[in-house]
Symmetry: C2
Subunit: 385 residues, 2 copies
C-alpha cells in the first residue's frame, strides 16, 4: 500500500516553535528534524547503519553531484538512491540549482534554464525546471525540490526581484510538468517550492505568495546563510515563516550552526540540512554540549576525557580526546569518522531535545539553559581544563 506524503502539525510552543510529523513511504520523520548531507550518495565517512544508530530519519543528497557522478540513470537502474545507498529511510534531494551557481562554471541563466560546465570534466549541461524534476524522479528521492534562482549576498534589489520572478516561473513549470505528487517505483514522491527574495521583506512576501498560490506540499526558505548578517537571516526567517501555511512543512535550506537551528526552530521552521557538523568534524572540530571543541589541537594530546562528558554516543563512551587527537595528528581516517559520528549525534540529539521541550511547552526556558551551557567553551580559544 502506498502511504501518501503528509504533514501533521502536532503542537506549537508559546515561542512559536512547532512540532510535527512527516509521513512518507520510507517511514515517518518527526519535526523539527535535521537532515545530514550525503552529497554523493554517502554522508562522508559514515555507513548507513551509523546513521540509523545516530537516529537520523532523513538524509539530503545533491542532485547536481549525483547527476554528474554516478549519473541519475545509473541510480534508476540500481532501483533508486535508497537501494543504491542501502538506506531505507526518506531522502530529500535538492534541485542542483545551488551547486550550479556555486560549484560549476555557469554559462548562462535564462528563463529556459541554467546552462553550466561540469566541475569534473568541463562538459556542458542544461538544467531546466522540468529536467531537474525528471532527474530527481530517476534518483528516487521522497522529497524533491524545484529549480530556483538562489541569490548571493549582497544582492541588489533589481537582481533579487528578477530571481523572485524567475523562481515563481520555474516553480509553476515544475508543477505543470508532473504535478506536486508522483507515484513511481511503488512510492510517492512530492515536490517542495522554494521562497527567495534575498533580504528584502516585500520580495520575500511576493515570493512566498507566488509559491503558496501554487499549493506545494511543503515550502523551503532559500537564499539565506549566504553571507548576510545574522540579524537579517533571523528576520527573514521569521518574516517568511509567517507567510507560509501552518499545515505545511517549512524547510530552511543550508542552515546551520546549533544556535542557528535553535533560533530558526523558535521562528517556526521544521526541517534543516547543513554540511557544518560533518564538514567541521572532518577538519577536527566537533560540537559538544559546551560548544565547539577543536580536538586536533595539541591541547588535547593528553586529555583522557571524552569529547563531551555529557554525551552518550558510542565515540564518547569508548574514546578519549587524546585518542581522537592522535588519529587526526597521524592522518588516520578513523579520526574524521569518529568526529563525524559524534557531531551528528550531537545535532540529532539536540533537535530531539527540542521536539521534547516543544511538546512540553517549555522551549523558551530550555533555550536559555541551552545557551548557558553551550557558551561555556569559547569557540575561538582552547577550553580551559
Amino acid at each position: 500500500m502506498i502511504m501518501p506524503f503528509s504533514f501533521e502539525l502536532r503542537s506549537v510552543d508559546p515561542s512559536g516553535a512547532r512540532r510535527g510529523l512527516l509521513e512518507t513511504d520510507h517511514g515517518p520523520v518527526e519535526t523539527p528534524a535535521f537532515m545530514p548531507v550525503g552529497t554523493q550518495g554517502t554522508v562522508k565517512t559514515l555507513s548507513v547503519r551509523d546513521l540509523e544508530e545516530i537516529g537520523v530519519r532523513i538524509v539530503l543528497s545533491n542532485t547536481y553531484h549525483l547527476y554528474l557522478r554516478p549519473g541519475h540513470k545509473l541510480l534508476e537502474e540500481a532501483g533508486g538512491i535508497h537501494r543504491f545507498m542501502g538506506w531505507n529511510r526518506p531522502v530529500l534531494t535538492d534541485s542542483g540549482g545551488y551547486q550550479v551557481l556555486s560549484l560549476a562554471d555557469l554559462n548562462r541563466i535564462e528563463n529556459e534554464g541554467v546552462e553550466f560546465k561540469s566541475h569534473l570534466d568541463g562538459s556542458t549541461h542544461l538544467f531546466t525546471p522540468e529536467s531537474v524534476v525528471e532527474t530527481q524522479l530517476s534518483i528516487g528521492a521522497d522529497i524533491m525540490m524545484v529549480l530556483d534562482e538562489c541569490t548571493d549576498y549582497p544582492c541588489d534589489r533589481g537582481s533579487a526581484e528578477k530571481a523572485v520572478a524567475r523562481t515563481a516561473l520555474w516553480a509553476g513549470r515544475s508543477l505543470a510538468s508532473r504535478g506536486a505528487r508522483v507515484t513511481r517505483g511503488g512510492y510517492e514522491r512530492v515536490l517542495f517550492g522554494i521562497v527567495q527574495g534575498s533580504v528584502y521583506p516585500d520580495l520575500r512576501e511576493r515570493s512566498a505568495r507566488d509559491l503558496v498560490d501554487l499549493d506545494f506540499p511543503g515550502y523551503a526558505i532559500g537564499g539565506l546563510s549566504v553571507g548576510e548578517p545574522k540579524s537579517d537571516t533571523l528576520e527573514m526567517i521569521e518574516y517568511t515563516a509567517r507567510l507560509l501555511p501552518e499545515n505545511k512543512p517549512r524547510y530552511l535550506m543550508g542552515v546551520g550552526l546549533p544556535e542557528d537551528i535553535v533560533e530558526a526552530v523558535a521562528r517556526g521552521v521544521d526541517l534543516f540540512d547543513c554540511v557544518i557538523p560533518t564538514r567541521n568534524a572532518r577538519n577536527g572540530s566537533v560540537f559538544t554540549s559546551r560548544g565547539r571543541l577543536v580536538v586536533r589541537n595539541a591541547a588535547y594530546a593528553r586529555d583522557m576525557r571524552p569529547l563531551d562528558p555529557n554525551c552518550g554516543c558510542e565515540v564518547c563512551r569508548t574514546h578519549s580526546r587524546a585518542y581522537l587527537r592522535h588519529l587526526f595528528n597521524a592522518g588516520e581516517v578513523l579520526g574524521p569518522r569518529l568526529a563525524t559520528y559524534h557531531s551528528l549525534y550531537f545535532y540529532l540529539h539536540l533537535i530531539a531535545e527540542m521536539r521534547q521541550v516543544i511538546k512540553e511547552g517549555r522551549f523558551l526556558e530550555w533555550r536559555e539553559s541551552f545557551y548557558k551551557v553551550y557558551n561555556s567553551i569559547d569557540t575561538g580559544r582552547e577550553e580551559s581544563v
Copy 2:
C-alpha cells in the same frame, strides 16, 4: 585474577595443520588466527566495534610507529593501548626492528642496538633489545616481540649468519632484562622470540636452536616474504616450523595472501599478520571466495551484485559493486572503509573455516576445493560477468 598466558595444541590434521588455543588476560584466541594490522593504534578506517563484529580476536600494532607518535609514554598514561584504542581483546606489538630497517633512516646497527632517524622529523633514536621491551611494556601489549635483525632478500650467507648471531644475542638480552613473562597493570605480558636465517636451511636451524634454548612462550618465523621466490618461502616455513616445539605457538610475520596463509597453515603455523587485506582494500582491491576483485574498475560501474555473492558480511548484505565502485570513483572514504571491512571479514572467515576443517581432519580435501573456487577469478583481468 590474572590469567597466565598459555597455549594448548588441540589437534593436528593429517596435513600437519594445527588447531590450538591461546589464552591471555584479554581473552582467548583460537588458532590458526589472523591479526589485522593496526599500525598507529587503529586498523585503518575501522572502528573497534567493526573489528569485534568481523570476529577479530587479536590485533597487531607497531612499536616503531607508536613510539614516535603518540609516544609510548602517552599510551602508558592512557592506561595502555587497550584503553587508548577502546579495544579489550589481545594486542601483539612487534619490536620496531623491521620498521627501523624499512622506513627510518638507519644510522648504524651494532651489537648494542639500532640507531635511526625518525621518518617523521629526522630526530635520532636508539632501539636496544632492552629498550624495546620497556617500550612495549609501556604500550601494554599482551604479546611482545624481541628486537631482531631482519635480513633483506637477497642476503649473502655472511650477512645472514651475522644477523642470526645478533638475533640470538639480542634475544638473550631481551629475556635477561625482564624475563619472558611480566605482570603489570593487572595483566600478564609475554615475550616471543624470532627465528631468522634468510633462505639458508642450516642458518634457520641454528637460529631456531638458539631461540628454543632460551625457552620463549612463543616463536615467530621472521625474515620471509621479503622478496624471495615463493618456493623458498614455503620451504623455509616448513623447515623452520619443524624445529620449533610442538606445544608453543608459531607466528609467521608479515604473511600474506590468502593462499600463502593456507599453505603456511598446512605447514604448521598458528598466527599471522599482514597489511595485504587492509592495504589492498584501501586501494579498491578486495578478496572474495573467487579471488581478487578490483572493485574500482569501470567494469563494475553497473554491477549490482555484492562484492562476493558467497559472503555474509554487512557490506555484501547491503551494498553492490556499483555502489562501492562509485565511492572509490568519487573519492569517498566510505569506499576504503567498506572494502576493508569486507576483506578482513573474508580473511577472518577463511581462517575460521580452516580451524573447522582441521578439527574435522579434512584440511587437504578442503584446500583442494578452496583453490578450485578461489582461482575462478583471474587476478589480472576482469571477472567475466
